[in-house]
Amino acid sequence: MIIFSLREGWRNFGNLGVVGLLSLASLTVTLSLIGLTSRGYLLIEDWKAGLLGRFEIEAFLSDEMDSTKALDISKNIRSLKNIEDVRYITKQAAAERFEDLFGEDIVELLDYNPLPTSLVISMTRDADPFRSWEKTSQAIAEMPGVVDVVYAGELLAKVSRFYHSTGSSVAIVIGVALIVSVLFTVLSVQSAILSRDEFIQIVTLSGGTSWMARGPFVALGGYYGLVSGITASIVMAIVGWFVGMGWDVDPAEAGLSLNMSIRWDYATLIAAGVLLGMFSAGWTASRRIKRK
């Protein structure tokens, strides 16, 4: 039965018309977009994780704070969400950091140490760079003994906005491309069904099952998906070669948990194409070829 469907589907594929070509083209565009986006997503996650790893929130404490009180505040901070680590910076350590940064010993320069003690807080990688960081810094600023909280809020907000707006735009583009490709596949399979009406009649009146009449058209959708998936994989490989992007990004290295990460290799893309084509075609065939 499967061989029959594949053979007859291939015969239909051989009679590819204009709508069939449009279906192939749109499926290829959609699959290329999905493939490139998934690669891009890993790259952006990698870049974001690297970027966020360099930023920290610094909470400056009032002069009355000794190490015991600072430890209490540190515990309170640790109880907040998305906190990875809290380090206590003494006045002396702050002076050393100052010297490291600016090459001057501030104690020697002023005869006293004006730098406050502080707590340096690093956030977990999955924390939203805008909302989580802002919320956390506000919560820390409201804690007694904290006089000021600084972090690269504006930059992180820009990163976050870019991330979210790009994500939404890409999702919309993929959604539209998906609808267009499904539409063309449906139209193409419909026209194949119309042109093969005699075939359907002969099969059903010769005692063929419903699946025998529909199967070749489902297979046709599968062929569309297969060819489009292969073409999209080639497109991805070419784009990767041209752009020189790090196609070999490891999801784990990009900070993605195992559940979140999907390894979009070429085989997955081709399989996705085949499934997309088969489902579109199957839906059309079940609507167009009524059991009679």
């Binding site: 029959f4 015969r11 009679n15 005699e198 075939f199 009649q201 002969i202 099969v203 059903t204 009146l205 010769s206 005692g207 063929g208 099952t209 419903s210 025998m212 059991r291 009679k292």
Partner: protein, 220 residues
């Protein structure tokens, strides 16, 4: 087997109210029955009803103990595998060879011994087209095309063969050849139900005649 095909008070109407009304008859195993009548008398409708291409509004068709009123869609193939159909316009697929046309019908029946291709070759041999198995329909004469259609109809070894105006598109000489072929198949045990508006062409051989007029059975 007695009464392999029985029609009981079958009625079917198209939107213009033409069709068939209260038709009842029986066909016995091995019969060669002609359904005669003018164009529009309801002959084709009757054949479509027997193959359940259309479903009767009322009445019942009994085919080898299967009842049309009890046939569920998933059992339709089983019903149709017991029938072979020969169409007036042959209904051959022009993009495939004689062998492929017959093989297409053969793959619809998996319960018979032998591979579909082998059975298709055998059916083509029975209609005398062994030498043209790889020819395409448009490379063949109308008589040869009708032979392919007959091979396709008999490839699944149906007990009943329905033929809708099988010789009306053929010249006298070819028509005689096709009628002789149908007679040969009948002698080999296949029950025949042939719709025609030219009964005189079959005078030499048939056992029963059903005469239709305006959708009613007027002579049995």
């Amino acid at each position: 087997m007695a009464d392999p095909l029985k029609l009981l008070n079958i009625t079917y109407n198209y939107s213009d109210l033409s069709g068939v009304s209260r038709i009842s008859f029986e066909v016995n195993s091995g019969d060669f029955t002609l359904i005669v009548g003018k164009t529009g008398a309801g002959k084709t409708t009757l054949l479509k009803l027997i193959s359940l291409e259309i479903v009767p509004f009322s009445g019942e068709i009994i085919l080898e103990k299967m009842r049309s009123s009890e046939i569920k869609p998933r059992l339709l193939p089983k019903w149709r595998r017991r029938i072979g159909i020969i169409y007036q316009n042959f209904r051959l697929l022009n993009d495939r060879s004689a062998l492929e046309n017959v093989r297409l019908a053969a793959v619809c029946e998996r319960n018979l011994p032998g591979r579909p291709k082998r059975r298709a070759l055998k059916a083509l041999a029975r209609v005398g087209l062994s030498h043209k198995v790889h020819s395409f329909p448009n490379e063949l004469s109308t008589g040869e095309q009708q032979r392919i259609a007959i091979a396709r109809a008999i490839v699944n070894e149906p007990f009943l063969l329905l033929a809708d105006e099988p010789v009306s598109n053929l010249d006298e000489e070819t028509a005689v050849e096709i009628i002789e072929l149908l007679q040969k198949l009948n002698q080999a045990g296949t029950t025949m139900l042939v719709a025609t508006h030219q009964p005189e062409r079959f005078t030499s051989y048939y056992s029963n005649t059903l005469k239709l007029d305006s959708g009613r059975l007027v002579e049995h």
